[in-house]
Symmetry: C2
Subunit: 174 residues, 2 copies
């Protein structure tokens, strides 16, 4: 095989990873736009009767993204207090939660921290194991890598965006 | 550079594409499981007050996946009648829509047709342009390729799955 083929494969890998990152960023951007659209009170509404409030889902998304820092071996969580409030308990388990202004700030900070780190990751980093899988299990299940975490978290953001959109009036029927 | 490096890059590309396909399939499987869980009548409920019914969202997801066939240059749509019913019009625009049994069958057929085709696609195929972008525009915007379509449709499935889950009773609070 030629150096040409090699360069092609390396370039393809880089482009594919870049497109996955763009998909993650676009989904984040959609959430950011949504939460910058209305006054804070708007997000105190439930997305559907008896379901989570908008503010809770923002906290949930921040906590989920913050959890990527330890899961991908980057650092500890920036806002460890959010895990109990927004990940391991449902909405309304606690009266005292951060404000919309705080959550918006955390959301930006967590995502920019992740994006900085992601921009330096090489293909072999993405294909390396995340911190919740042992070396032994990873040898048997090599798809349990950092890329898989990114892919599943990207669809997770979209999952909750589909719910948040119900806070909008009827323009979004589907 | 060595053949070793070349083989590594080729193997990395293959693994990354395989993981993206697995993510697409997992999201489809979640929809399939959801729509096999209850009697047909269950899916005639709206996912939230004034929003689409479950049956409409299944039709919408079938129509969206069916649209990948022409968009990716594979074939014509298998069920072109669904586009008007479930993509270009909201729920309840038409009284006469396919039954749940028919939609479940279409969903399986469209996805298995796509999966068969996807399994044969090479990295350069995924990075080639889709049929809605001209050669000229593609030269300027090379990310407007088939992979991008797959990534965005994968998050689209998850977006609607986040809505469908509201049909379940309270076990799914987030």
């Amino acid at each position: 095989m030629s150096t040409q083929t090699e360069n092609t494969a390396i370039a393809q890998t880089a482009q594919i990873l870049s497109q996955i990152l763009t998909t993650w960023k676009s989904n984040n951007a959609r959430v950011t736009t949504f939460f910058n659209q209305y006054q804070d009170d708007f997000y105190l509404q439930e997305v559907a009767p008896g379901r989570s409030r908008g503010i809770y889902l923002l906290g949930h998304l921040v906590s989920s993204s913050d959890g990527l820092l330890p899961l991908l071996g980057i650092s500890e969580r920036l806002y460890p207090q959010l895990e109990k409030l927004f990940s391991t308990n449902p909405d309304r388990a606690f009266d005292d939660i951060p404000s919309m202004a705080e959550l918006r700030e955390y959301w930006e900070k967590v995502n920019s921290t992740l994006a900085d780190h992601f921009s330096k990751m090489q293909p072999q980093d993405w294909l390396s194991r995340h911190t919740k899988v042992s070396e032994e299990d990873f040898a048997k299940e090599p798809h349990r890598n950092k890329l898989n975490v990114l892919l599943s978290r990207t669809t997770h953001i979209s999952y909750h965006m589909g719910q948040l959109i119900f806070l909008n009036k009827k323009e979004a029927a589907v």
